[in-house]
């Protein structure tokens, strides 16, 4: 048996008569819904839309960099393109996507709750997100912005005539959506757990989302105030970031990175949660060292607040301060290492099957390890002098964000797709896409490490011709990568109508979310579940299924 999918007999299986998807019909029933699952779907649509915009921008970047001379776009257009790419990918895709889509859908199901603690706020935060996104899209339509995603002052405040205020406003608004989502999750995880669902019975997914939420709540307000100051500086010139008035442009970076460094862990922790679930399920084992993995999530969350100035090593911070921040960065890398090894060890004496989610997971482990270790290169002070602001950094963060988080996201989407829609995606196509993605990714971004060490600066519209060969490789890889993304988008849509009916637990996974019908009822559980087993207890599950005829719907 090469797959663990045990689909119900196709001749008898039917989708459940009532589920959250068909309880009510009509646009209004979606736009005013308070059901966390429907809100998750709406977030999925929103973030996919933004991913496509960001992806189109990436395509433009790579096309432009095919030749060294800046043939395709004008210099300021190119700057607008990569700024839009970074802004949208970070603030409107990767930060919201995993928490707001998978987190929203799964957290209540996994802890045995009927909904998140504040369903109305949940809906409101979707509207905030979309409002922020609309501002951002309007900003792009009305001229765009060329600050880079980092809004470096005084460039952004005094030297650009583009739509900086609108861009900052969009992020400001969307930031409150993050805050409310995080707040909602924390309260839900603390207060809404089913009887018997103790902290150490929680799936590791919940632990990592908990850490993510803490970062949302504590870090996001700081970027809100930083961006508010940028807007004020631009509009009325308050002077706090203006060196000519006695302000300090570096202060902006302190405030910006105080958020944005923790935010990069917002972009990886949920992925780590997903990986824990998938590894456990496809090895049919409890995650090796549950407590260590759980606490390392918390540790990453806490330590992430101590390292932000590693983005400013050469920017003029005190050298002593740089020393402290470098040390803390080394420390924050350790919990990630623990996780990687614990997942690997989970496979030991497992019974491993290689369905699509597992393939993505293996990809994640490899790519995140490379991305993380190159992060250590950058955390090393003397090395960072040479590497900072080059393509090495670009390669580093695409390895962790795209190779790591996007792979994890794909793993998660494939894993829970049957739960979300009640139907399977086409398995073999899924595997093909996973492999394409992995190869395309490496082809795109590995050459950038070399480019970076050779010294090619990032955010360059045109570059010295000797860097062309590696750039061509990278652009070629991006085409492969694009196929790797478009394929799943297509077959996911296809599967909505034609996918095989999944049944409640196609992967034979042990989590609570798999013990209810797929797609679930609006109220999730007919009765409040009482939890008597540990997380990933496959022996318990085996017992259950042995005693029972699987029912669908």
């Amino acid at each position: 048996m090469s797959t663990s999918v045990s689909l119900p007999d196709q001749s008898t299986a039917r989708l459940p008569k009532v589920s959250y998807l068909n309880k009510e019909y009509g646009l209004k029933s979606w736009l005013l819904t308070k059901d966390h699952k429907r809100i998750a779907i709406m977030y999925l649509l929103g973030t996919t839309f933004f991913f496509c915009i960001g992806g189109a921008m990436a395509a433009l970047i790579r096309l432009q960099l095919l030749t060294p001379y800046g043939d395709l776009l004008a210099a300021d257009t190119y700057n607008k393109v990569f700024s839009a790419h970074g802004l949208i990918m970070v603030f409107f895709f990767l930060v919201p996507v995993a928490p707001a889509v998978l987190g929203n859908f799964l957290i209540p199901l996994m802890i045995g709750a009927r909904d998140v603690a504040f369903p109305r706020i949940n809906l409101f935060s979707w509207y905030l997100f979309m409002t922020g996104g609309c501002i951002e899209v309007c900003m792009l339509v009305f001229g765009g912005v060329d600050t880079g995603w980092t809004f470096t002052t005084p460039l952004s405040t005094h030297f650009l005539n583009t739509q900086v205020v609108a861009a900052a406003m969009g992020i400001f608004v969307a930031g409150f959506s993050s805050i409310l989502t995080g707040l909602n999750f924390i309260v839900t995880i603390h207060r809404m757990r089913a009887p018997g669902m103790t902290w150490f019975r929680l799936p590791l997914f919940i632990w990592s989302y908990y850490a993510t939420s803490v970062i949302f709540v504590l870090a996001t307000p700081v970027i809100a105030i930083a961006l508010a100051l940028v807007m004020l500086e631009r509009v009325i010139g308050i002077g706090v970031f203006d060196p000519r008035m006695g302000g300090d442009p570096l202060l902006f970076q302190h405030l910006f990175w105080f958020y944005s460094h923790p935010a990069v862990y917002v972009m990886i922790l949920p992925g780590m949660g997903i990986i824990s679930e998938v590894v456990a399920c496809f090895c049919r084992k409890r995650v090796f060292g549950y407590t260590a993995v759980a606490f390392s999530s918390v540790a990453i969350g806490v330590f992430s607040f101590f390292v932000w100035a590693h983005h400013m090593f050469i920017m003029g911070i005190s050298n002593y301060s740089a020393l402290v921040f470098s040390l803390m960065t080394m420390l924050v890398a350790v919990p990630s290492a623990i996780k990687i090894f614990n997942w690997s060890a989970t496979m030991y004496k497992g019974s491993i099957s290689f369905d699509t989610p597992m393939l993505y997971t293996l990809g994640f482990i490899g790519l995140f390890t490379i991305g993380g270790l190159t992060g250590v290169f950058l955390a090393s002070l003397g090395m960072d002098i040479h590497l900072t602001e080059t393509y090495f950094v670009v390669a580093h963060f695409h390895y962790v964000m795209v190779g790591g988080m996007v792979s994890a996201l794909m793993a998660g989407l494939h894993f829970w797709w049957p739960k979300i829609t009640g139907r399977m995606y086409p398995e073999s196509l899924g595997r093909v896409a996973a492999i394409i993605l992995f190869m395309g990714f490496n082809l795109t971004f590995f050459p950038q490490f070399i480019l970076g060490y050779l010294g090619m600066p990032r955010r360059y519209w045109a570059y010295p011709p000797e860097f062309q060969a590696l750039n061509v490789l990278s652009s070629a890889g991006a085409t492969v990568l694009a196929i790797g993304y478009l394929l799943p988008i297509c077959y996911f849509i296809w599967s909505l109508k034609y996918g095989k009916i999944a049944g409640s637990n196609p992967w034979q996974a042990a989590g609570l979310e798999w013990q209810v019908q797929s797609p679930p009822l609006t109220e999730n559980f007919e009765q409040t579940p009482i939890v008597t087993h540990e997380a990933y207890d496959y022996e318990w599950l085996a017992n259950q299924t042995r005693n029972e005829v699987p029912t669908v719907g």
């Binding site: 603690a117 707040l183 924390i186 307000p221 809100a224 004020l232 706090v240 006695g246 409040t528 579940p529």
Partner: protein, 247 residues
């Protein structure tokens, strides 16, 4: 559904379920859970507020360190009586708000309405005094970006004859002080305005007895918010008004 995991509800939870007032949302097990959840949520929201103001305090600290004499001079132009009065007003309003929450807890409708009224009035009073001060600063050309002039700081301040006038370069830095002053008091006032508005809505609802039937969470959480805004002011007052008054 798996009947082994999902055991029937126990007698105990069923009993709690029994109390099922209209304001208990369907997804909560019981009132205690709902109330705790909302208070907890409110606290988390206040954490974000701490960090939001935290960014401003951070900026304040840095520039106060750098441009201390400009900050002193700026501080000396504020009306200390207005600041002290406003602190008093806010503290009293915090007290009245606490009393309003208490009235809701013991389910006394009329005292609840009265305490809320008083709190609103004090809040408005605070804003009026603040408005008066801002007007004064506008008249004195102290609003950065709009009508700022360093004139006053390069001369001796009659209220502080002991102060030396600032050299022009340091006098320029008073603008940073004022930027932070308007930023911080402005953000604080914005919170006050929002607070007064919400409290007015709560007051209208309270007239119909909405919060004296055991459903105190909105009043209680609003109280937390109001006290938090008070705390922000408790820090703003010494930081902005009381820099080196003895000079």
């Amino acid at each position: 559904m798996d009947s082994h995991t999902i055991a029937a509800q126990t007698a105990e939870t069923a009993q709690l379920e029994h109390e099922h007032p209209s304001f208990l949302h369907h997804h909560f097990e019981n009132l205690a859970q709902q109330r705790e959840a909302s208070t907890f949520g409110m606290w988390l929201f206040l954490l974000t507020e701490i960090m939001f103001f935290g960014g401003m305090f951070c900026a304040y600290l840095i520039f106060r360190n750098w441009y201390y004499s400009a900050f002193v001079a700026g501080s000396h132009t504020l009306h200390i009586w207005a600041g002290t009065l406003n602190t008093t007003v806010l503290i009293i309003s915090s007290f009245t708000m606490a009393m309003a929450v208490h009235a809701a807890e013991v389910r006394h409708r009329v005292p609840l309405l009265r305490w809320m009224m008083v709190t609103i009035l004090l809040g408005v009073g605070f804003l009026c005094i603040k408005g008066y001060e801002w007007h004064d600063e506008w008249v004195n050309h102290h609003v950065p970006g709009l009508n700022f002039s360093i004139e006053e700081f390069t001369h001796v301040n009659p209220a502080y004859p002991g102060d030396k006038p600032l050299a022009p370069d340091m006098a320029e830095r008073t603008q940073i002080y004022y930027s932070l002053y308007f930023l911080m008091t402005g953000m604080h006032a914005l919170h006050m305005i929002i607070g007064v508005s919400i409290l007015t809505i709560l007051l209208i609802k309270a007239r119909g007895g909405a919060f004296t039937n055991g459903h105190i969470a909105p009043v209680e959480n609003f109280g937390l918010y109001w006290h938090f805004v008070d705390i922000v002011w408790i820090f703003l007052f010494p930081l902005l008004y009381l820099i080196s008054r003895h000079q």
